[in-house]
Structures are given as structure tokens and as C-alpha cells.
Symmetry: C2
Subunit: 338 residues, 2 copies
């Protein structure tokens, strides 16, 4: 019987499922940021020709899936499952995107950790021989998230400096196999929920940083790797404040991975774009990985990446009821084959 379990929380992908192609579609603001040229599509209008923001987000997700499949050289008959999730209640963006594909659907939710969870479970399906190829995807949209979680945009409420900006972005990857593999997923570490009792929804980086640390620490323990094995440890979207908290907490544990560490929420926007503590949303790590990071791997600048998408497990109901904001992070190691 196969043993693909390593340590307490880590899966080994012995057959090396490969990233065959990625697709990224981002909004107007994200297209003005420093990663602009790494995305496949930058929208001219965040409505994307739809009547509602929600349908625009679904269309962005569909477009990123189509681009990833095209680059992977796959049509939808060759995709065994789409694994996707998003921030909208009942995964509205994913459902209304995937319904237009004739492909089995597995809905996944881990807040902004969803992209790593999708990739991780997608790798399990391919590595375990349950699928030849799958799509792992995720999305978010500033306007759908604001409408749902915070305030109607028309209200024009002020955001505190610690707040993060939900990215209008989607990212998809096709995971499968090729004769001559380039970039493969080698390990996945499933995160535990970490709840430090934070209740401030404008401090999500602080709420998620302990979970990110827990998953990174567990990944290194389980695999016996040093942090320096990786060219880049990339958290999902802790933002500027959460990034600093994570570095400090790790130093307290005796690990300083700051030379190889960055955060998708920090990378996505320029400081003058007025997003305060940085980007967030499921689409943030999805698009930054599918765009900037994967292209840096293709270009040879990165060979070993640990993607650690991070999620804040809150809802408007839990916030209104005064509950805390539990955090979670899942990790996937993606490595260039020699």
C-alpha cells in the first residue's frame, strides 16, 4: 500500500504532478501595479462586460481557466476535475464559472488560502492516479467582496491603515503530466486552524500570520528541509503588517527566513496605490502565483518555491457576533526538475 504521508501534516507527491500551464486575469488597479506585465489579461473595466460584479468575477475565473487549459494544450474533455473556490457566499463565483464547463467540479473553501488548497488537492488527484489532469483555480473581486463583507462602495467609508485591499484577480493552473516535466509539485502541507483570539477584521494579516508560521514550521519539520532550501517562501496575503509579524514570530522561534521570504499581498500593488497594508482575496495569491511566480520559474529566476496561501476564516455573521478570526494556511512546494 502506498505511503505518501510524511510527518504529521505533509503529503509527498512521489510521481511529481506537473504544472502544465497557468492563466491569470486581473482588474484595472492590479494592472497598474508592479506585476502588470506578468498577467495574461488586464481588464480595461472591472465589470468585464457583465451586468453585475459577481458575473464579472465568474467570467474572470472562466477566462483564467481557459487560458491555463490553452497553454497546457488541453481541452475540457481532457480535464478530469476543476477544483475551485472563492470568497463569495456559497462559492458563487466558482459555481457560476464552472457550470459553463462540462467538467466535474469539486468546491473548495479556505478563504484566501483557497488557491494552495486547490493545488494541493489537485496534486493528490493526479499523483494518486485518480485524474490525468485537473484545473486548480480561485478568484476574488474588490467590488463583490466590499459589497458582501464590508460596505456598499457608494458609502465611501474610510479604511484604516491596517486594512487590506481585496484583489480583483483570478488565477488557474492545470496540473497533469508531460513527457519532459519542468515544474512539479513535490510536497503539500495541510494547515491547522490557528485562532489567537483576534477580532478586528481590519487586521487580517495579524490574524493569519500565526497560521502561516505554523504551516511553514510544520512543513520544514515534516520534510527535514531548511528554509534556505527554497528560493522563495511566498505567503498568500499577509500584507505589509502581517509580513512583518510573521518575520518577527519566526525569529522568536530561531528561524530567520526573511532573505527568501515575500508575500503576494505585498507584491501585487505599489505603495502609492493607496491599498494600505497590501492586497488580499483568494485571487491575490492565485494570480500572483499563476502570473509573476510561474513566469519567474519559467524564466529561470526561481527554481524552488513554497507557496503558502493564507486564509482568515471570518464571515459577516461571525464578526457581528463578536467571534474571533481563526486563520489557516496551506503550503505546496513547486520545484524545477533538473
Amino acid at each position: 500500500m502506498a505511503n505518501n504521508k510524511l510527518g504529521q501534516q505533509t503529503f509527498i507527491f512521489q510521481t511529481r504532478p506537473e504544472i502544465l500551464g497557468t492563466g491569470s486575469v486581473v482588474g484595472v488597479k492590479e494592472g497598474k501595479g508592479p506585476l502588470s506585465k506578468t498577467f495574461d489579461v488586464v481588464l480595461e473595466d472591472d465589470m468585464f462586460g457583465e451586468k453585475t460584479w459577481e458575473m464579472a468575477e465568474s467570467k474572470m475565473l472562466s477566462e483564467s481557466i481557459n487560458i491555463a487549459m490553452r497553454k497546457a494544450g488541453k481541452n475540457q474533455d481532457q480535464i478530469d476535475a476543476i477544483l475551485s473556490g472563492d470568497l463569495l457566499n456559497q462559492l458563487m463565483s466558482s459555481s457560476f464559472s464552472v457550470k459553463d464547463f462540462s467538467v466535474p467540479f469539486l468546491g473548495i473553501y479556505g478563504a484566501c488560502s483557497t488557491m494552495a488548497e486547490s493545488i494541493l488537492l489537485g496534486c493528490v488527484l493526479v499523483d494518486g492516479g485518480y485524474a490525468d489532469a485537473v484545473v486548480a483555480a480561485s478568484s476574488s473581486h474588490y467590488s463583490t467582496a466590499e459589497r458582501q463583507f464590508r460596505m456598499p462602495l457608494e458609502h465611501g467609508n474610510q479604511r484604516p491603515p491596517s486594512a487590506q485591499w481585496t484583489a480583483t484577480a483570478s488565477g488557474s493552473v492545470v496540473i497533469g503530466r508531460s513527457q519532459n516535466p519542468h515544474f512539479c509539485c513535490t510536497y503539500g502541507t495541510v494547515g491547522k486552524i490557528v485562532d489567537t483570539g483576534m477580532t478586528d477584521a481590519n487586521q487580517m494579516g495579524a490574524a493569519m500570520a500565526p497560521a502561516a508560521l505554523d504551516t511553514i514550521y510544520r512543513h520544514l519539520l515534516d520534510t527535514g528541509r531548511e528554509w534556505s532550501y527554497y528560493d522563495l517562501i511566498l505567503t498568500g496575503d499577509l500584507g505589509h503588517i502581517g509580513k512583518r509579524i510573521l518575520i518577527d514570530m519566526a525569529k522568536n522561534l530561531g528561524i530567520d527566513f526573511s532573505p527568501a521570504y515575500d508575500d503576494c499581498g505585498v507584491l501585487l500593488y505599489d505603495e502609492e496605490q493607496d491599498v494600505h497594508s497590501g492586497g488580499s482575496g483568494c485571487g491575490c495569491s492565485a494570480s500572483v502565483f499563476a502570473g509573476h511566480i510561474y513566469k519567474s520559474m519559467l524564466g529561470g529566476a526561481l527554481k524552488k518555491v513554497l507557496l503558502v496561501s493564507t486564509g482568515a476564516l471570518l464571515s459577516t455573521t461571525s464578526s457581528q457576533q463578536g467571534e474571533s478570526i481563526p486563520g489557516i494556511a496551506h503550503a505546496v512546494a513547486i520545484e524545477a526538475m533538473q
Copy 2:
């Protein structure tokens, strides 16, 4: 390399992951129904000693997980992952339940199909050697669902005859291995989203029946089995109307599986309990499977069951925007070992 893919949508679980134990916790109304004696816990008060319905639902889920682990003879250190989801926005019930376990968490969402999706992915993890044992779980609560999806209970609005009653219920199963396996998961079929354009949120059985048929039909095609192979084909919660629609649609395809067919939403309540078209909610198929069905298997009355949980992929936003209600169904075959 392992090949555990069968036909277009079906996974083979060659190593036969076993159901080691189940737990079910239901509310007051469900405890007055015909399946009352098959549940592990029937609440005396749907608040379950908590301040909010949402925390009561989380506590029900935790309790069902604890019961399932106890019956399986496992403590939480021996569980490699909890896979769970629920109807609440951002999986609030699951997040606030699982945060109290020190176990890696994979959030899953397929509306009322969530229990079959959790079991299916849990079987993949165990069968593929990524985990020794996992918990697959789901829950729903009448009062949390009414508050979120429909009307404040205080409003006392009238429900049309086609409406279904969201079950106050949770169910959990531990999937793992034993020396002497009894009831094992043999196949899983991942559903496609089927959207027939239905827009009436009080006709969810009708919205889900085509997806249920699609998944059952695909399961039989992929596995080469006749419907009569199964003692019971059990849909998630189509309710009375959806059940009749499914039987009619199947007959039109030349299959009459009605002698071996039933629906969790039909089984959970007596007709005089005034639930109109029957039960629904993630907890409906979760508790009916974990309680009544699994106990019937243990008692020898059922040997081969195809659990087909069905989900309606709507949200309040999609309904308010006039969008359709896409349906989905996932199937898992559970069989007594000879």
C-alpha cells in the same frame, strides 16, 4: 503509476478505505421523526446551550466528530485531516468547530452535496496513502439557514408546499483502515454542475434532480454496474417533489431504479411534521447516512449503498440577481465486505 480513474468521472478506491465509525447529532424536530432512534444524540433544545444558533451548529458538528472518533477508537492525534463544509457563508460552522481540534482542516463546499464530497475526498486521501485516517463531516441548522437564506424566523413567513425544511443535524464519519474491514468505500463519482435554468429557490428538489440523475447515470456507465447492484441508491435531499422528478427522468432514460431508491429528505421527517416537500441542508444526508443508513448496514439490512448527496448552488446574491440555481451531486459507493 497507479491508475485509479474509471471512465469519465469515477475514482476507484482499490485499497478499500473503511468507515470505522460514525456520529450523528440532530435537533428537536428531527428527533421526533421516524429515524429518531438511529441518531446518537437528539438535542432537547436547538440552542444546545450556546448563545447563538451558529455556535450551536458548530457544537453539533464537534459533537458528531467526537462521537465518530470515539466509535472508531481514534483520538484526534490519529486523525490526519478533517474535511468538512456547511451552508453558512464562508463555512462558519465548520471553521468554528474544527478550530477546537488540533487536526489539519480542508474546507469543502458543495451545498447539500457536501457530505458525499467530503467522504469522496477523504477516501482519496486514505486510499492514496496520504492519510491513515480522516474525518468527513457536515452540518446544517434550520435557524442559521433561515436567518441567512430566507427570512428572520420572527417574520413568520409562509412556506410554499414545494419548500424543503433545512435539517438541524450533523453527521461525521471516520474513514481509515482496520484488520478486518466491514464497510468500505469502493468508488466515488464526482459530479458535474447541471443548470436547467430553474430560478425558484422554493423548488430546490427540481433544481437538483437533473444533477442527481447525471451523476447516477455516469456512475453506472463508468462502473458497468446495473442499478440493481445496489440495495439502496440514496439521494441527498431532493425531497418528495425532487424524488418523483428523478424517478420520472430516469424512466425516460429507460432506467427504473425506484425499487432500490430513496431520498434522505423524504426519510428524515414524517409527513405530519409539516415540512412540506421534505428535509434539506448539508446535515440531512450527513445525519441520515451516519445514523440510519450506517446502522442498517451494521445490522445487515443493507449491504451495498450508493450515497448521492445533492446540492443546489445558489446564494442570496445569485437569487436576488435573478440567476438560475445550478445543481450538483457527488456519489460514493459503500459496500459490505464479504
